[in-house]
């Protein structure tokens, strides 16, 4: 069976540096179970992107303004390495739940 696609938003305060850093981490840890498409984004744009639809979950290094109706995972640990395993587990758990709901 073909792998399903996950559309993920990688978010930081500038949309430039730390979002780019965590993008590859997200791909590396999900590519065995899905086609992963990651879009890097500034936190102030997240609500508009999510409201437009088509995104499955968010991994962020910054607080995000507004109410977001998809899962939001705090990703600073992906940068520092401290607590990284727990974050990766959470990403994989959320991803699997979303993939299961797409069955």
């Amino acid at each position: 069976m073909a792998k399903k696609t996950l559309n993920v938003l990688a978010v930081c305060g500038s949309g430039v540096v730390s979002s780019s850093m965590i993008e590859q981490k997200i791909v590396d840890n999900l590519e065995s179970i899905a086609n992963v498409k990651v879009v890097g984004l500034v936190s102030t744009s997240v609500k508009a992107y999510v409201d437009r639809g088509g995104y499955d979950f968010v991994v962020t290094t910054s607080p995000i303004p507004g109410e977001i109706n998809i899962p939001v995972i705090k990703g600073v640990a992906l940068l520092t390495g401290f607590g990284e395993d727990a974050v990766i587990e959470e990403i994989q758990r959320v991803a699997k739940e979303i993939l299961a709901s797409k069955e």
Binding site: V16, S20, V76, G81
Partner: protein, 152 residues
């Protein structure tokens, strides 16, 4: 394209500073002098830092200050260490402070070009020995060589 080189012009060791603004200004001015960033860079790094702080609770705490690419002419990175740790708010948890012992001021024009380089940055953050080596550096040429060696 892909590689951002460290250079002695963009490094300052053992900065005497009580506040983060002093460190960010000094390093931003180095980037400005060399034409890597626009006049607007410093003010916008500071503004970003207030809203979306970049202090990281790594084994030796640090900050990775940056802002939107519209304030950048071409990619470069400035680096500094401080005599006394300086308070930065923690990334993702602004109500907490980290006492940073080193500061990177990162100017990126197109992060897509620098993704492998940014990935290596993450290697640096989590390697205690690398962090200790650069924090303890007392010679600009040495630390620049060392950093460029890690990132090559």
């Amino acid at each position: 394209m892909g590689i951002v080189e460290f250079s002695q012009d963009l490094v300052e060791l053992k900065i005497e500073a009580k506040e983060k603004e002093t460190v960010i200004k000094l390093l931003s001015d180095k980037l400005l002098e060399k034409g890597f960033v626009k006049e607007s860079f410093y003010a916008n790094v500071l503004k970003r830092e207030e809203v979306f702080p970049t202090g990281l609770p790594t084994s030796i705490p640090m900050a990775i200050c940056h802002t939107e690419s519209e304030h950048v002419n071409s990619s470069a990175i400035a680096f500094g260490t401080v005599v006394e740790p300086v308070a930065f708010q923690e990334m993702g948890t602004p109500e907490r402070n980290v006492m940073a012992e080193m500061v990177f001021v990162i100017a990126l024009k197109d992060p897509k070009d620098q993704v492998p380089w940014l990935q290596k940055m993450m290697t640096v953050f989590r390697d205690d020995e690398i962090l200790r080596t650069i924090r303890n550096a007392s010679d600009k040429a040495e630390v620049v060589n060392y950093l460029n060696g890690i990132f090559s």
